[in-house]
Amino acid sequence: MKIKDKLILWSRLKSPWLLHFNTGACNGCDIEIVDALTPRYDLERFGAILKSTPRHADVLVVSGPVTRQQVKRLKRIYDQMPEPKFVMAVGTCACSGGVFDGCYGVVSGVDAVIPVSIYIPGCPVRPEAVLDGAVKLLGALEASSKGK
């Protein structure tokens, strides 16, 4: 039983599949996320692949402040992902709403709608920050399962 759990944890750490969702970003963070997948930074060496359906994904990468239009859709996409699932809020807007916080069309950051596992600030974020965030997310996952 113990070995089986260890094997499952190891496989989860080694194979995070990403789903990218834009909840109203200016596209700055989206371009930087795509940047992290290019040959220069190569996220695939950590096992990360960009998937396009929520059913295949482990990590939901959200960029942008959550607009009122997107609340329903963000919730729905989050619900469509199979357990265990994690959420990365990429960019200052996704973390807190950024300069759009309090605007009539904007709810706030991503954590106002769905639980967020890790916040990556920056306007826009650097690809290194996305990589660093992904590594820290996996580290936190490992640490939390050791505590159990």
């Binding site: 496989s11 080694k14 040959p39 060496r45 096992g47 998937k51 059913r55 265990p84």
Partner: protein
Amino acid sequence: MIIDSMLPALVYILIFPGFLFLAAYGLFLQWVDRKLGAVMQNRVGPPWYQPAADFIKLLAKEVIVPDACDTVMFKVLPYFALAAVVTAVLPLPVWTDAVYSFQGDLVVVIYLLTIPTVTFFLAGWSAVSPYAVIGSMRVLTQLFAYEVPMMLSLIGPAILAGTWNINEIAGFFAAHKALMAAQIPALFVALIALQGKLERVPFDIPHAKNEIVGGQFTEYSGRLLGFFYLAVDMEMVVGAALVNAVFLGGTLGASGAAGLAVFLAKTLAIVFLLTLVKVLMGRVRIDQMIRFCWQVLAPLSMAQILFDIFLKFRLQ
């Protein structure tokens, strides 16, 4: 008595050259493919254990079955794909002559390799999501494009060898190595058609992710998706083994460890060619693919058949 005769059969089906060997080698070939592709694109690429980690992670994930879909069909299809691929390896020479060989097994293997494609279609169709349905329609459309050239290309060597038995075809080419060079056009057709069968890059139209999300697998998650991916990896091994047996003389008369080494070296070379095609090309449209398959590949393989018939009369 029954146990005595059943034990070797079970070992052949479940361990070697059946399920376990195919799974291990299939995952390894997936890594070879991804790593080679990464190196060709000037990247680092995934570590060697990546496909195994992906598979184990998918096994341990939640399985979501959509309300609207046909539940039983949705759940059993991955196992059908897996079973068909494992059966298809039995008439192929892996370390020595095939374990189970009979006259006409070439046709049986071709049909067994069609079953996974049909399960992909049914998987998308039974999942009712619009993306999955479009993907599964493309699976079938693509099947009609590559299946005929593939079959025609395999007929040429069979005519030349005068048999429908894969083992005897492999033995014939191992004995007449010079004739292998005459089969290069058909080998080219078979490799391109194999690329279409495995739904790899120039022909990854059914699951083109920037158009139709995840194609036929859109609604699949967890264990079921993992088994589908495993079936695709195994299909790559079986496809490479079929091309190796029909065009390249199988194990070249070697047996045991030497035969296995020849098999591994030649299937790796075939996968290298497939990866090269994958990295060099971009995705084509479905109509372009069908036009290419019927206007270039099918006439080419028919010309090869004619050539083989003339060559056979000449040799006699």
